[in-house]
């Protein structure tokens, strides 16, 4: 037990520090990509997801794992994911982003966390009704991880999917760069060979970018103290998050945020006299009949806030930040939508985009589409006066 708690502390501190230093925010990753094609954080998110997929596949293949998180799949992923995606874009931070900014001293994101808690509690009260009217009709099939349903070794599956993802990425970026090269001359005949060369150009660009990134990393190591106080490349955060997630996967489970938060809500309410265990959702689903108490993943996400706090303090980024009054609706409404949406899906951006895609869960592919669609719609609404790039 002590060893597991130690793992929870190490993983939580590491995740918090890397999230803070890499400004690893899924809202940023998708919103800024849609709004003005800024793909720095998007690259970090993709790198973390695919690297984790490879290593989790290998760990699973050799038996170093505790379990997957594979809810039943269906339209709930789209509906809940969409609500969550709209909510996190309006709130200005995803489930993990809210945690690390709480650690940086943003009162706004503590308020967001509070209203996510209200969302979890409201969902829990409504759960018996929702189970009949929402989950049962919208669920299509039993959840599964693709790692477990094929006879192909999981390590190879992870590697193959990651390589396929890289090829798609290379084709898209390669097409964009060759199109701008030839676009100046606006000659259709020259665009055709460019289309064939797109994956090659993209892979070359990827190799160059990765090479430049590692050279920069080596340069940064020459002045470790100064470099540690600077903002880090999101890809550095991706490497650190992957390492922490692999440790967590071999010892405890996949990385989740809103599940443990919903447990925290039940636990905290039980401390002030609410019989949380008597609610079906807390008692038999979240706490699985083990009684309402502090579980190891709850400890882990608490340490995420501590890790982000320490990293922010070290970098000179910590301050108690009082929100503008006109931003309060963002925290209240955004938090409620994130809390409710993450339960309706179920799962948040970490559970479904990062962990869920990395563990190849069918449900998470659907929920990820829902979340990204929510971000897209909300980004266009927020940028309605100045316009979006995509």
């Amino acid at each position: 037990m002590v060893a597991t708690l130690l793992v929870a502390a190490v993983v939580g501190l590491a995740l918090g520090a890397f999230l803070q230093k890499g400004r690893f925010c899924f809202v940023n990753a998708f919103r800024d990509f849609f709004a003005y094609k800024d793909s720095r954080v998007t690259k970090g998110v993709l790198a973390a997801t695919f690297l984790t997929m490879i290593f989790w596949g290998i760990a699973y293949q050799f038996g170093y794992y505790q379990g997957f998180w594979t809810p039943n799949w269906g339209l709930t992923g789209l509906v809940g994911g969409f609500i969550f995606g709209v909510g996190m874009t309006y709130a200005g931070g995803c489930a993990s982003g809210t945690l690390y900014r709480a650690g940086e001293g943003y009162l706004q994101f503590w308020l967001t966390l509070l209203f996510m808690g209200v969302g979890y509690a409201g969902f829990t009260v409504a759960f018996p009704t929702l189970e009949r009217t929402y989950f049962e009709p919208l669920t299509v099939g039993e959840g599964a991880s693709l790692f477990t349903v094929t006879s192909v070794p999981a390590g190879l599956v992870g590697l193959a999917v990651a390589l396929a993802g890289l090829l798609v990425y290379a084709t898209l970026t390669g097409r964009a760069s060759t199109a701008t090269d030839f676009g100046e001359r606006a000659d259709v005949a020259q665009l055709t060979p460019a289309a064939f060369l797109a994956p090659v150009a993209g892979l070359r660009g990827f190799a160059r970018g990765t090479n430049a990134y590692f050279r920069g990393l080596v340069r940064a190591w020459r002045h470790p103290i100064a470099a540690s106080k600077q903002p880090w490349d999101p890809r550095t955060a991706a490497l650190g998050i992957t390492a922490a997630a692999v440790l967590w996967f071999t010892q405890v489970s996949i990385v989740g945020v809103t599940g443990p938060e919903a447990r925290w809500t039940g636990y905290l309410l039980s401390q002030v006299g609410v019989d949380a265990g008597s609610f079906e959702y807390w008692g038999s689903i979240l706490f699985q009949g083990q009684g309402v108490g502090v579980t190891v993943d709850m400890v882990m996400i608490a340490f995420v806030i501590v890790g982000a706090f320490l990293a922010a303090l070290w970098s000179g980024d910590f301050a108690l930040r009082v929100p503008k009054r006109r931003r309060l609706p963002n925290a209240v409404v955004g938090g409620l939508m994130m809390g409710a949406g993450s339960r309706l899906a179920p799962g948040c951006n970490i559970g479904n985009i990062y962990s869920g895609i990395a563990e190849l869960s069918i449900h998470s592919f659907i929920a990820a589409v829902g979340i990204v669609a929510g971000v897209y719609v909300m980004t266009h609404w927020i940028y309605r006066e100045v316009g979006c790039a995509i």
């Binding site: 709004a35 003005y36 943003y106 940028y383 100045v386």
Partner: protein, 98 residues
């Protein structure tokens, strides 16, 4: 074939003295303390729409990601410089391009 990262690097950092001097000549100052993404990005784009080429927009912010996100958001519309106070406040200087 240069990648996008080669042409849009992180903005230049200003020294304390330069930051003060430049603040004096700002044509528009936006107080973005207490705001979080993406509102400073949106406000920066709106602010630049009001300015003429060569004029200077300064945003005061306490939101860490803004120092990179705001310059990215305005892209080629303005030349960006950043000043970090060291205690979690930042200024973003955007000079509108022609």
């Amino acid at each position: 074939m240069p990648s996008i990262d080669d042409v849009t690097n992180t903005p230049d950092e200003l020294t304390d003295d330069d930051a003060e001097a430049l603040l004096e000549e700002a044509d528009l100052v936006q107080d973005m303390t207490g705001e979080v993404c993406p509102y400073p990005q949106v406000e920066a784009k709106k602010g630049l729409q009001e300015l003429e080429a060569g004029e200077l927009l300064v945003q005061e912010t306490d939101h860490v990601p803004c120092t990179e996100n705001v310059p990215r958001a305005v892209g080629d519309d303005a030349e960006a410089q950043v000043w970090r106070s060291g205690d979690a406040t930042y200024r973003i200087y955007l000079r509108k391009r022609a």
